[in-house]
């Protein structure tokens, strides 16, 4: 029960963080678009929180953040919630087996998470058009995952060090 209570307490904070992630995704990520490829900042936030707090928090935060994304694209309510909850749950388990402290490991994990998310998203949206889904994954899904995997660790690790170094 204590774990459930802690998860509920953390829920409000994480809902706020997820909402902030959404603002980042809709405003900031749109400005960071390169040739139409955007970093997935919401997914990065879910993965990073799952890393810190484990699969339960990863699941809940992923579900909330996904549900918020679904609210903006009500055509498929539940799709992003299921996907981000899955990513949060899975990558919440991986925290014990990988070196999260290094930027490279963080980048690799983020790339895998983003690629898995993009792949599952296209599989569920394919409606039998597998070739188009594969093309879309290669054309925008993988570049977006790569962009996320490069950008987020860079910001999280390099920028604070630079600031500390100058200070």
């Amino acid at each position: 029960m204590n774990a459930l209570w802690a998860a509920l307490q953390a829920l409000w904070m994480f809902v706020g963080l997820a909402a902030l992630g959404f603002v980042l995704q809709t405003d900031l990520a749109a400005r960071m678009s390169i040739l139409g490829v955007r970093p997935d900042l919401v997914l990065a936030a879910v993965v990073l929180l799952a890393r810190r707090r484990g699969p339960l928090v990863g699941t809940v935060v992923g579900f909330c953040a996904g549900l918020m994304q679904d609210g903006l694209t009500p055509d498929r309510v539940g799709l992003h919630a299921a996907l981000l909850a899955t990513v949060g749950y899975l990558f919440g388990h991986l925290r014990v087996s990988l070196l999260w402290e290094t930027a490279l490991a963080s980048g690799v994990i983020l790339f895998l998470a983003a690629a898995l998310h993009e792949l599952l998203l296209r599989v569920l949206l394919a409606d039998g058009r597998w070739l188009a889904a594969g093309g879309s994954f290669l054309a925008t899904g993988l570049p977006s995952a790569l962009y996320t995997a490069v950008l987020v660790p860079l910001v999280l690790y390099a920028v604070p060090r630079l600031v500390r170094g100058r200070a």
Binding site: T59, D70, G71, P74, D75, V77, G78, A82
Partner: protein, 291 residues
Amino acid sequence: MPEPHSDSQRLALAVYVPLALASLLLALLRPEAPARWAARGAAALYWPFRAVSVGAQQLTSLLVEREELQTQARELARARMLLAELRGENQELREQLRFAQRDTLHLVPAWVLAKQGDRLGQRVLINRGVLDGVRPGSPVISRDGLVGRVDALEAHLARVRLLAHRASAVSARVERSRVEGIVEGDPLEGLRLRFVPSSADVRVGDEIVTSGLGGGFPEGLRVGRVRALGLEQGGLLRRIDIEPAAPPEHLEDVFVLVAPDSSTGWGFLWAVPQPPTDSLAESVRTDRPVP
């Protein structure tokens, strides 16, 4: 899927499975009501974040705009200072040269009704007269340059003595070197700038404009261009032939220059002895030369 090893992991699995299954079912069945609720909920939840985001964007754009406006204001202040300085300098120069403020010219459009020629030269009749504000001596121009001056008037009719008329004389100067002289007309030999010393700086192609001296014409009207140079008899004066800016053979639309208040303005400056005018209209109808 990883094996649950602890209570928290079992709890995570217990939370994940129903959430993921319910979400997937929603996504695959695509019911309408949850979609509406989700959209409304997201809108309500995101409103403060969206407001902050939009506010931040507006603040940023306002700051940028403020910076641009400050830059423009600084440039305008500099331009204003420069303008004031130039205005003062201009005023000072005008005072030094004893220039009066020039009145604004009024242009009365007219067209040529008839052309008349005699042994002294050409005149034309235009469809504007004393009731249109035209006064004796009013300069007449075309878009190319000076045409002549009014020497006879009726209510809505005026006779214009062209520059090439033997009785015409216009104070003029070479625009480039400001050498001054008098432009006189000759029906056979055309326009000439006379009374210019042989040592004066004049070149073929120089622009000749009115000098404004004598009050007959305002300053700066184009008269023509130097066509040929030579020496007058005796060799003391230059012979300067001018190609007229407004050739008489191409005259159609012209403008009469009138002072803002013709009765008290430049009218007195341009006043010339008024020849008999009773036969102007008759001359148009009969196309006979006006005496």
